[in-house]
């Protein structure tokens, strides 16, 4: 009999995601979606022996309760949500053999915010535009286009990147993202594309200030609270087609990760963000820092560290190297 996973409790916006998400359809208005903390997600697949393209679950703040219909191998990575298997503590960052009928339950995220569950075989949902990732705002991908619901049943085993399952593997400590509960994060940023709309002292202020993550943040955008921005003269001396506020610009495309300035409120555009709009983007968070965004909680404090394009790419490569079987003890 084919393996399925019964969703006893869905948790908070738990969704099916795959790596790297729905890439290449930005010009049709589709964001990449995919796991927010790709580092943790990819290691979960490595642990259970799946290929990198296998779909898994992203759990946010409050994880799900799941029952497995057949024996399989499962791994939990990312945020610490006190998972239990039939009431016994379930180890994080390890691949564990689960027997038919066992129940995996999660609580609230204690350290970090997003946990990733990989199941040997991968979750089998239809691909839309080449990806199984959920983009719930448009009802695309994942389980019927949306987050999991109580009582649903997930098919497992025939999905892409299906692995037979290897229990007893563990990710080496120094190969995991350093998810901490100290509430302060240093986030890399690349300056641009619209840094010339901000005055020099405004750039300095952004880089030397503390920014608090607001509660109204999700997989679309991360809203930050901090000091006022100082605009360059250009931001006011512009044609009427650009709009009235200094942060307005004639509609343009948004890079994923751009820090989108709406009035005085910076919003980091993340996995499910709109592809275009009429606000400036003075800085961009590179992909290598996304795991930090994914694992932070409202009221956490960000400080930004400017890096070059080359440094940002090298950071991404260094994470890529860790998402491999060599990271397994």
């Amino acid at each position: 009999m084919a393996l399925s996973v019964e969703v006893i409790k869905a948790g908070l916006e738990t969704s099916v995601q795959d790596f790297p998400g729905r890439y290449g359809f930005w010009e049709q208005g589709f964001p990449p979606s995919g796991p927010f903390d790709m580092w943790s997600f990819r290691l979960a697949n490595v642990l259970v022996g799946n290929g990198p393209e296998a779909a898994g679950l992203e759990c946010q703040f409050m994880g799900p309760t799941l029952r497995f219909s057949e024996d399989c191998v499962v791994a939990f990575t990312g945020a610490e949500m006190n998972p239990t298997l039939d009431g016994e503590a379930f180890p994080m960052w390890e691949s564990v053999a689960v027997t038919a009928g066992q129940v995996l339950a999660c609580g609230f995220a204690r350290v970090g915010a997003r946990a990733y569950l990989a199941i040997s075989g991968g979750i089998d949902v239809p691909t839309v535009l080449g990806a199984r990732a959920t983009f719930h705002m448009a009802g695309v991908g994942g389980m019927e286009g949306h987050a999991l619901k109580d009582g649903q049943s997930l098919n497992v085993g025939a999905g892409a990147g299906a692995g037979a399952g290897v229990p007893g593997r563990r990710v080496k400590q120094d190969c995991r993202p350093a998810i901490s509960d100290n509430k302060e994060w240093q986030i890399e940023v690349v300056q641009g594309p619209n840094d010339d709309w901000i005055a020099d002292d405004g750039i300095e202020r952004f880089l030397t200030s503390e920014w608090k993550l607001q509660a109204r943040s999700n997989r679309t955008g991360y809203r930050l609270e901090g000091p006022d921005w100082i605009f360059a003269d250009k931001a006011s001396a512009k044609g009427p087609e650009h709009g009235e506020h200094p942060s307005n610009i004639l509609d343009h495309g948004y890079p994923v990760g751009s820090i989108n300035l709406c009035g005085q409120t910076p919003i980091i555009l993340v996995n499910d963000a709109p592809s275009a709009g009429g606000f400036i983007n003075p800085f961009t968070v590179p992909s290598a820092a996304f795991w930090k965004l994914a694992q932070s909680k409202p009221n956490d404090i960000y400080r930004f560290r400017r890096v070059s394009v080359d440094e940002a790419q090298e950071l991404r490569r260094s994470i890529d190297r860790l998402c491999a079987v060599e990271s397994i003890a």
Binding site: A138, D251, G253, G257, T284, P286
Partner: protein
């Protein structure tokens, strides 16, 4: 103003923004779409995606396959190869989309906003007024009197950002502030220089003037028009709005639902920027429909 040489700006570790100028001259969008076509024709190594807009193009790349510096050099080379904007010829389909202007559904949307968020005049009256039109009916005549150029497909799946190709039909209007929290699916909106069609029933800031029963995307690809694609329109396509009645809306909606609706999209033309500009310069631009 068109820049003498385009500006290149980084967007994090895997995007580059190419900007052709700093205003809303339609030539700048033609250049962005010309570059998009050239990138696809040349199959530039490492390019994952393109995201054009009014005067710029965002290019996403895979940095293991091409460096930022090499991509910039490659893009500059392709832009040189485009020559002057008058030389551009772009693949451009023409889609006829039925629309009920001044429809009851978007009227409800505006009324709902007035009641819950901020008092507001009926959008078509407001837009007619700020453009010096006689009334909302003239707004509908003018909006349906031109082909609309698809500047980009962006923001939400399949959403076309459009502007009037006939300068006699240009409409400008301020957007909502604060924005609507909800917009009916298929609503036609105008804001800034643009027209658009809401492809998801979400928030929005454009003034609502009509509604189409035709879907602009379908992730389940049920209808033959979506056989090889998920969205109806591409950048550089053109849209002609065909006014219909409420009864025809309901008839069309039912045909869309049962799969018998025939989409009216012609694909036998290319768009010559030179010929277009020559036509525009021949017009009596004070004439109004």
């Amino acid at each position: 103003m068109k820049f003498d040489t385009p500006k290149f700006m980084p967007g994090g570790d895997h995007f580059i923004l190419v900007q052709f100028g700093d205003d809303a001259s339609i030539d700048l969008n033609f250049m962005a779409l010309g570059l998009t076509a050239a990138i696809k024709a040349e199959e530039v190594t490492g390019v994952v995606d393109t995201n054009p807009s009014y005067n710029s193009l965002v290019v996403e790349y895979e940095s293991d396959d091409i460096s930022y510096a090499d991509l910039q050099t490659e893009l500059a080379h392709l832009i040189d190869g485009l020559g002057s904007v008058e030389n551009l010829e772009l693949d451009s389909r023409l889609a006829y989309l039925p629309v009920v202007y001044l429809d009851p559904w978007t009227r409800d949307c505006v009324a709902d906003y007035s009641e819950k968020i901020a008092p507001r005049e009926y959008d078509p009256d407001f837009v007619a007024d700020v453009n010096g039109f006689e009334d909302a009916k003239q707004l509908a005549r003018i909006h349906s009197g031109t082909e609309h150029w698809v500047v980009a497909v962006c923001s939400t799946p399949g959403l076309p950002l459009m502007r009037a190709l006939d300068p006699r039909c240009a409409i400008t209007s301020p957007k909502y502030n604060p924005p609507r929290t909800w917009t009916t699916l298929g609503a036609i909106g105008v804001g800034g220089l643009s027209s658009s069609i809401y492809t998801t029933p979400g928030p929005g800031g454009y003034n609502l003037i009509g509604r189409t029963p035709v879907p602009l995307w379908d992730p389940r690809q049920r209808h033959p028009v979506f056989k090889d694609r998920v969205v109806l329109l591409d950048a550089a396509d053109r849209v002609k709005f065909v006014p219909i009645s409420e009864e025809e809306f309901e008839y069309t909606e039912a045909r869309v639902a049962d799969g018998s609706y025939e989409f009216n999209i012609t694909a036998y033309q290319r768009f010559s920027v030179g010929a277009y500009k020559k036509w525009v310069s021949s017009l009596n631009q004070d004439g109004q429909f």
